[in-house]
Symmetry: C2
Amino acid sequence: MANVKVACLLGDGFEDSEFRVPFDELKKAGIEVEIIGTKAGQELKGYRGRETVKTDTAIDQARTDSFQALLIPGGHSPDHLRADRRFVDFVRSFDALKRPVAAVCHGPQLLMSAKLVKGRTLTAWPTVQGDLQLAGANVKDEPVVMDGNWITSRKPEDLQAFSEALIRTLR
Amino acid sequence: MANVKVACLLGDGFEDSEFRVPFDELKKAGIEVEIIGTKAGQELKGYRGRETVKTDTAIDQARTDSFQALLIPGGHSPDHLRADRRFVDFVRSFDALKRPVAAVCHGPQLLMSAKLVKGRTLTAWPTVQGDLQLAGANVKDEPVVMDGNWITSRKPEDLQAFSEALIRTLR
């Protein structure tokens, strides 16, 4: 898939496999993944200590319309990112394009901070599922939940199905 | 203050100072603090690597009416604890006694999972403030927010005022 580029929003303390599995699966499918962080060229560590990833692009330089999909891995990363208004704004602007948004585990915390979840159907890490319900979302406890342009999953065990759903949608 | 005992709910990855400062201040005021975790005698580590704490009591053995107040430090600990129904139930039962509940930073995530925040006035870590608003709480961005039996604070910088508010309330 030429010219298909996915934006991956990443901060320190991401869940290692929730970056690695979708990243590798997308690459295998010929899809480019651009890692967007606070700064370009910054080393980010997974909280399990298994992955170290260098960011490609600073959030200030990232343009939503350069990407065909958005990927948000979980772990502690989403709670760090949503403390920074620029990431929340990026998510809101990207979602407005109606292109695929794929978030796993704590990833939907960014959708919540962007005030996008009310009335939407999605899943997330079990503790975040409760927050989403209180925010007026329709929560399902299933490996992959699709609603419009959203693809959400709960945990590392869901990653294969999550990655496949994203790739299928991009095709 | 004899016979005044505070229950502290603690899990791995707590914010080191958010345990240490209130714990030491309560001790100095002559108030006993009992650390309640998943198991008794378990070593828990703060995520900054500065504090290691041994739990006193297993959640299964903890009775809400044995304590005059509840303390919930922040960090990653509250999100771990609220994944376990027993901690959420403990918080809900304790709150029903109308005794002081003091939560700082991510601590209010436990109040949220216990479905107690709608219509209440409180504060929390900035990213959690957004979740609380979506859940129907009245959020204030202040060092210490008191509402009925609740005492809430935002971050390590608030800890002195937070601890003093809890001790004053117990007096």
